[in-house]
């Protein structure tokens, strides 16, 4: 239970006081912050509407002339709302958050990298290293072109993984076999993480080579 600083009412954690409508600086889960049921599949348009609606009610701009306590509550409540919205809007962040809610750790019993993916990582990283080491400008351009092609391939794999993630979400919402699904979800999220790091490194290297 938390207490509203404006009217003193004791209530269940929420961002808005049920009695007087003041913002409440409570810490709680992202789904509850946005008043959504705990489901992995989310209608993004509805999520945005809900976020805007709540922002209108609790944003610090609405309390600019109020006392410091209410202003502080509004600030913290809005920070919670913003963070919750960003977490749920991005499917990867949402998936990771879901594991956390279920007391799971992404890395637990999940160290193995699929052979094909590991091969890809090392291959691309070697290519990046070669590009950075090549002193001949012509060769560097050639390498950069190769890597740019690789970048497209990686994006394709990333898109596939995100589709897979959506599938994991839908399955979870419909099924009860959570043990199996946890493993699948973890695998998909890890693969996305490896790809994301690789893509980040590729983009950085391409950016550097462009600058040079």
């Amino acid at each position: 239970m938390i207490e509203c600083l404006s009217c003193g009412r004791q209530q269940e954690p929420s961002l808005i006081c049920a009695e007087c409508g003041s913002p409440l600086a409570a810490q709680f889960d992202c789904f509850a912050a946005l008043g959504l049921p705990r489901r992995l599949t989310i209608d993004l348009d509805a999520l945005e509407r809900r976020y805007h609606e709540l922002s209108r009610k609790i944003h610090p701009d609405r309390f600019a002339s109020k006392g410091p306590k209410v202003r502080d509550a509004s600030l913290r409540a809005t920070a919670t709302l913003t963070r919750s919205y960003r977490t749920l809007r991005d499917p990867v962040a949402r998936g990771l958050y879901w594991l956390e809610l279920n007391g799971e750790k992404l890395a637990e019993n999940n160290k193995r990298v699929p052979v094909e993916l590991a091969e890809l990582v090392f291959e691309v990283q070697e290519q990046l290293a070669e590009m950075q080491l090549s002193s001949d400008p012509e060769e560097a351009v050639e390498r950069a072109t190769e890597i740019a092609a690789r970048r497209i391939e990686l994006q394709f794999k990333m898109d596939e993984a995100l589709v897979e993630l959506d599938r994991n979400f839908a399955k979870w919402d419909e099924s009860a076999d959570q043990k199996m699904l946890t493993l699948e979800l973890k695998t998909t999220l890890s693969n996305i993480a490896y790809l994301r790091t690789l893509i980040r490194d590729v983009d950085r290297a391409l950016e550097n080579s462009k600058a040079a």
Partner: protein, 624 residues
């Protein structure tokens, strides 16, 4: 409830605006009834302050007087008083962050400290203090415009800042407001403010890009507008890129043939800058023009075409476009997803800027609201939102730069990513590394680079005292919260006891609260001096200035005058000296004028000689 005003504290000009009958309006503050107050502050050796147009007149420059004589006028800088323009460029910077080309422009006090300080007379001034003078002038003029009505005091304000301002620059802006005796209810990003001014009537829906190219800063913001919610998706920019840079390139071109020593002369440089600025403005409407800089006995006359100007400006504009690409990518959009492009800032008047922006976004940019006023108008709209008189309108802005902490090997660990909607917070757990450690040091950084040394240091925190325990046992949760102004707040809590920890903040740059208090006291002292006394002090300073300059020049160039002339000068100088100890300011002013008169031919000869010498030297160098 007192009205909240909107202030655009610009690099070149500043404005104040307020809502009138549901419409934002700028308030006339300039002497000629203009809404623009030049962001120029002149400080006499006694610290008497002049702001705006009249401060520009006091800038060191060359002037052509009756009879075609060219003479040097204005505060020369340092002990002779100084005129500071573009103070915004220095806001929130540490001494070590001053660019080399800026070092030559002003006299700085010790640059090793965490705050830039201008040395003027016997005092030092921080950029926040200079900006506070501009804010004070805006406040005074606005209150006068309302007929000094007791109910129309300017006390609560919204101040705009470049979207790409970092934490330190924002803090310095807030400090300026405080030093001017204002309550800064909110800092608003300039491009976002502009979007509010545009979106007010139409309540448009769609994606908008705001291209804000001002005198000293560049911002690009991408917003999504939906039913009165203005949500910034991404922002990017450069706080040291503006029309000033184009002017400087023009000055370099204008003065290219002059020897280095003359180029650096504050009088010559400023005169060239004024000529460059005028020429740039003329070329908005005409295809070619002549640029003239009158030096004593020598004038620089060059022909400038718009094409040539565009050639000089192109690299700077290319840099703005690069920033646009990054912002669009961060917003996860393409240029074709942008429904409207809005131009803000005086530098967007350049035809080349308009062409390049149109090419980039595949559409003609909007500029129906005066680009000099749109930010101030938007600030007034935001002020009205804060007063609760703007219905459902709400602004959701972002933090422009990532925030993180220094970890192993000097690596930056990102906690809050750039373009995260604010307010936002993140909690991070900390523990001790050795047994019985009583403090944990945290170094907070802002920036996008991987290494801590390449990011900007925001502050160092010391957590503790922590109860002596084995390493790794204490659990301290530190919450980093960025408020709606984009400014960081930190607090720490012991996870086991639930007790709040004290956080000893040491900002890496900027002023401490104590320093601000001290400055406030000093400012009040100055404010209380009565007008008559100020004028007297000002007259004495004029006397000191001319006497000092004369002595110096007689020492160096005494050979250029004959005995008769010398005797007259000495005689008038003595009378000035005698009058300055008295209290008759009109007499002092009259004698100073007289001394000015008798010394003018001498001053001209000195300038002629210097230029001739320099030009001869140059041509010898060229020949050899």
């Amino acid at each position: 409830m007192a009205r909240i005003f909107g202030i655009d504290l610009g690099t070149t000009n500043s404005l104040i605006a307020a809502m009138e009958n549901g419409e934002p309006r700028v308030i006339a503050v300039g002497e000629n009834g203009s809404a623009l107050l030049p962001s120029v502050v002149a400080i006499a050796p006694d610290s008497a302050v002049t702001v705006g147009e009249r401060a520009i007149e006091m800038e060191p420059h060359l002037t052509v007087e009756r009879g075609g004589r060219v003479s040097a006028v204005g505060f020369a800088g340092g002990e002779y008083g100084a005129v500071i323009r573009s103070a915004k460029r220095y806001m929130g910077l540490g001494g070590d962050e001053i660019a080399p080309e800026d070092r030559a422009r002003y006299m700085f006090a010790d640059l090793s400290g965490p705050v830039v300080r201008f040395q003027i007379g016997k005092r030092v001034f921080t950029p926040s203090q200079i900006s506070a003078e501009i804010l004070r002038a805006l406040k005074g003029s606005a209150e006068r415009a309302f007929g000094n009505n007791e109910n129309e005091k300017v006390e609560r304000v919204v101040i705009t800042v470049p979207a790409y301002f970092n934490d330190g620059q924002r803090q310095a802006t807030k400090d300026a407001g405080r030093l001017a005796g204002l309550e800064v209810v909110r800092l608003v990003n300039e491009p976002t403010a502009a979007s509010l001014a545009y979106g007010l009537n139409k309540m448009a829906t769609g994606n908008v890009a705001v291209f804000d190219f001002g005198g000293g800063t560049f911002d690009i913001s991408i917003l999504s507008i939906k039913e009165g919610i203005f949500e910034v998706l991404a922002t990017n920019g450069d706080t040291h890129l503006g029309g000033d840079d184009i002017d400087r390139a023009l000055v370099d071109w204008l003065l290219a043939e002059l020897p280095e020593t003359l180029k650096l002369d504050r009088h010559v440089w400023n005169s060239a800058r004024m000529a460059a600025e005028d020429a740039k403005k003329r070329l908005t409407d005409v295809a070619e023009t002549d640029v003239v800089v009158e030096l004593p006995g020598h004038s620089i006359r060059k022909h400038l075409t718009r094409d040539a100007l565009e050639g000089l400006a192109a690299p700077f504009i290319a840099r703005t476009l690069k920033r646009c690409e990054l912002a669009i990518a961060d917003a996860k959009l393409t240029p074709d997803n942008i429904d409207a492009v809005v131009l803000v800032g005086g530098s967007t008047r350049m035809p080349l800027v308009r062409r390049r922006v149109a090419e980039m976004f595949h559409r003609e940019p909007l500029c129906s609201i005066n680009p000099d006023q749109v930010v101030a108008l938007g600030a007034a709209v935001q002020a009205s939102v804060l007063m609760g008189t703007q219905g459902d309108m709400l602004l959701l802005d972002v933090v422009p730069l990532s925030l993180g902490i220094e970890t192993m090997g000097g690596v930056m660990e990102r906690l809050i990513h750039r373009n995260t909607t604010i307010p936002t917070s993140v909690a991070e757990g900390f523990t001790t590394a050795v047994d019985n450690q009583t403090h944990v040091d945290i170094h907070v950084l802002q920036g996008e680079r991987e290494l801590a040394k390449d990011c900007r240091s925001l502050a160092r925190f010391k957590l503790g005292p922590i109860q002596a325990q084995p390493a790794g046992v204490p659990r301290i949760e530190v919450t980093f919260l960025i408020d709606a102004n984009g400014i960081l707040n930190v607090n720490a809590r012991d996870e086991r006891t639930g007790r709040e920890h004290s956080v000893d903040v040491k900002p890496s740059y900027g002023l401490t609260d104590d320093e601000i208090e001290r400055m406030l006291e000093e400012a009040i002292d100055l404010g209380e001096q009565d007008l008559e006394e100020r004028l007297l002090i000002s007259a004495r300073n004029d006397a000191d200035q001319i006497l000092g300059a004369l002595r110096k020049q007689l020492g160096e160039f005494g050979r250029l005058i004959d005995a008769g002339e010398r005797a007259r000068m000495d005689e008038v100088a003595e009378r000035v000296e005698a009058a300055r100890t008295g209290a008759d300011r009109e007499l002092i002013a009259k004698l100073v004028e007289e001394l000015n008169e008798v010394t003018t031919p001498f001053a001209e000869r000195i300038m002629d000689a210097a230029i001739k010498l320099a030009l001869e030297k140059k041509s010898v160098e060229e020949l050899s």
